[in-house]
């Protein structure tokens, strides 16, 4: 089961999804007309949300790149400095 788990490391999945969403929203935000702006109290909310999602998505991918998860062998816990070093904030 090592291969799928590695491929589907949750950080890669979230990072990838957020990058795609971020790109879509940033593009939408740049093109938003006055109706969208009026609805959002004059804030370019698509643009800002898009940028925020790009940053978060990038951070997840970077984290996964810097500390790839170990492949757990079936029942012996592997001693390493892996993921648990990063309790999420």
């Amino acid at each position: 089961m090592a291969a799928p788990r590695q491929l589907f490391d949750i950080r890669r999945v979230i990072g990838g999804l957020f990058l795609v969403y971020g790109l879509i929203l940033t593009a939408t935000g740049l093109l938003d007309g006055s109706a969208a702006l009026r609805k959002a109290e004059g804030i370019r909310i698509n643009l800002w949300t898009g940028i925020g999602m790009l940053v978060i998505g990038g951070a997840f991918l970077l984290w996964e790149r810097l500390r790839p998860s170990e492949t757990p062998s079936d029942d012996s816990p592997v001693a390493d400095e892996g993921d648990a070093a990063h309790p999420a904030p």
């Binding site: 089961m1 799928p4 788990r5 491929l7 589907f8 949750i10 999945v13 979230i14 990838g16 999804l17 957020f18 795609v20 969403y21 879509i24 929203l25 939408t28 935000g29 938003d32 109706a35 969208a36 702006l37 609805k39 959002a40 109290e41 004059g42 804030i43 909310i45 698509n46 800002w48 949300t49 898009g50 925020g52 999602m53 978060i56 998860s69 757990p72 079936d74 816990p77 592997v78 001693a79 390493d80 400095e81 892996g82 993921d83 648990a84 070093a85 990063h86 309790p87 999420a88 904030p89």
Partner: protein
């Protein structure tokens, strides 16, 4: 309300376009992908039910948090924010964080190291088979009723998106959830939960930012809440709790003992849908950290639930009134009001994903308990492993079907959170009493476990019925749930003590590793290198969460 525009929205329709549907479709493509991958990886029943006990604390912690961030949180807590104001914060800072920390610091080693796969199985080992069966039965029923709440909330959003009638939305939503669960079991459920957590936060944050801009920031919001039906009381949490002159009609004893102790500890420490997340952790240390890692995001979740509730209260003058939208609609109304296409799609995706994950968690909890604790333990335990995996899939189907029925029950409540809290008072409060006494009092007998649990549950239900019939007056439904939980706890405790005095206890040998002070020397230390660092200590991190929770109260005393 002088300048609150009356934005009536009887038939709420979200103004979505193709861009929003692309965002929604992308999410479900990813979910399906994970489902297929997880399905290939699932081998044994341990894999299917507990994700093979291999996950690190940050995943199980986020999954623990996300399992709770279903309809309960998003619609329910926003509804409560609009109905009761800042007192809703109690559900986070006294009603969740201390119990989550207690679970991690004190109780988790007993759960994890005893290698049980569920809370009812723990009840069998500590007490007896009858207690397991009773606990499994009430848990399975509770999960179905709660899954009905999630399904109903999901259908509300579908209705607002597509304009379908409610019954059709409920049936279609159920079909989607079913596909989602059967594709991968708990393994993909956990991954999806973590993913939906981030998406829903990404969708709710813009609502809060635009909403606060509209009402004039925090000070403008405070000002407008003072002018609303809640008045000054809507901004305080502990003020006037010596009597009942506060929006919740609750006094501080009910809040501290009913909500802060019995309801909250009952929910967080014995709710298997939650505990199951920690049992998937890779070692005892990761299991203990699971609820504590989750406590930190829990501290700040009210920013995206209670604050939107307050914004909805001051913007929509007819919210919760006769003929106006129900409190449950606070968040969808705000999304419709503020979000342009694009970010609207993210918010809708987040909501849909959150209800699905919530319902998936209920159904997978039901599935495990029905298969293992009811069927395997009490009906027939002689089949090969694969047989139970198959039975689990059938249980999933039956659970979703029953959830459809439960969704129509949930549809009868204008504020879903009130309904949910009543359920917790029936099912979790007595369980917590039995659990905690059994953990710290070695002499407590197997039959005391059974009778305490039974009478506690019956009494909580009885007190709720008396409130509904008008015999007991608790002021508000939520206050009734605080007292119902208190009654269940006290009755359970008294019955447990009395029955213990007249029945025979279990020998110490059978209680090793299950009660406080009798550790099981045969369980190996499974700590990993680095687990002993102070910044990964469950006690230090837990204490930090509790101190923060207390500090967060200061602006809202």
């Amino acid at each position: 309300m002088p300048d609150a525009p009356l934005l009536a929205a009887q038939d709420l329709r979200l103004d979505v376009n193709v861009l929003d549907y692309v965002i929604l479709a992308l999410y479900f493509l990813v979910v399906l992908g994970i489902g297929f991958a997880a399905r290939r990886a699932v081998r044994s029943s341990l894999d299917f039910f507990l994700s093979g006990r291999a996950l690190p604390a940050w995943i199980t912690g986020l999954a623990f948090m996300s399992a709770n961030l279903g309809a309960t949180e998003v619609l329910g807590m926003a509804a409560n924010g609009a109905q009761y104001g800042a007192m809703t914060l109690h559900y986070y800072w006294i009603g969740a964080v201390p119990a989550m920390v207690f679970l991690g610091v004190v109780m988790m080693p007993f759960y994890y190291r005893s290698e049980v796969h569920s809370v009812p199985e723990f009840m069998r080992r500590r007490f007896n088979g009858a207690t397991q069966l009773l606990n499994a039965g009430t848990f399975a029923l509770a999960q179905i009723l709660i899954s009905g709440i999630n399904l109903y909330a999901l259908a509300l959003i579908m209705e607002a998106l597509l304009g379908w009638p409610l019954w059709l939305s409920i049936v279609v939503s159920a079909a989607i959830v079913l596909a989602y669960i059967t594709l991968g079991g708990l393994s993909s459920a956990i991954y999806n939960e973590v993913m939906q957590f981030f998406v829903i936060v990404a969708g709710l944050v813009p609502v809060v930012i635009i909403g606060l801009t509209r009402v004039g920031g925090f000070s403008g919001l405070g000002q407008k809440v003072r002018e609303s039906v809640l008045g000054e009381g809507g901004l305080h949490t502990w003020a006037h709790t010596a009597g009942s002159g506060n929006p919740l009609n609750a006094n501080w004893i009910g809040l501290v003992l009913g909500l802060g102790f019995v309801l909250s500890f009952g929910y967080w420490t014995t709710n298997f849908a939650e505990v199951q997340r920690a049992l998937s952790a890779r070692n005892t240390h990761a299991a203990r950290l699971t609820p504590i890692v989750a406590a930190y995001p829990k501290l700040v979740i009210p920013i995206v639930t209670v604050i939107p509730g307050l914004i909805a209260l001051v913007l929509f003058g007819d919210l919760g009134k006769d003929g106006g939208p129900t409190y449950n609609e606070a968040i969808p109304l705000l999304m419709n009001e503020f979000l342009p296409n694009g970010v609207l799609g993210v918010a809708v995706t987040g909501l849909l994903a959150s209800f699905m994950a919530g319902m998936a968690a209920n159904i997978s909890g039901f599935n495990t308990v029905f298969t293992q604790d009811i069927w395997r333990a009490h009906v027939n335990g002689d089949h090969p492993d694969e047989w139970y995996v198959r039975l689990g899939r059938i249980a999933t189907l039956a659970g979703v079907a029953a959830g459809i029925g439960a969704a129509f029950i949930a549809a009868g409540f204008g504020n879903l959170m009130n309904y949910l809290q009543s359920l917790f008072a029936f099912f979790n409060a007595p369980l917590f009493a039995t659990f905690i006494i059994g953990l710290f009092w070695r002499r407590m007998t197997p039959w005391a476990g059974f009778w305490g649990l039974l009478t506690g549950t019956v009494c909580a239900f009885g007190s709720y019925m008396l409130y509904k019939a008008g015999v007991l007056d608790f002021g508000t439904e939520l206050n009734a749930s605080f007292w119902g939980a208190g009654v269940a706890f006290v009755v359970d405790a008294i019955v447990s003590v009395v029955v213990t005095l007249v029945t025979a206890p279990k020998p110490d040998g059978e209680l090793r590793g299950l009660v406080y002070g009798l550790s099981d020397a045969s369980v190996a230390d499974d700590a990993l290198a680095g687990d002993r660092a102070w910044y990964r200590s469950p006690v230090a991190l837990g204490a930090g969460a509790v101190v923060l929770a207390a500090a967060f109260y200061l602006p809202f005393l």
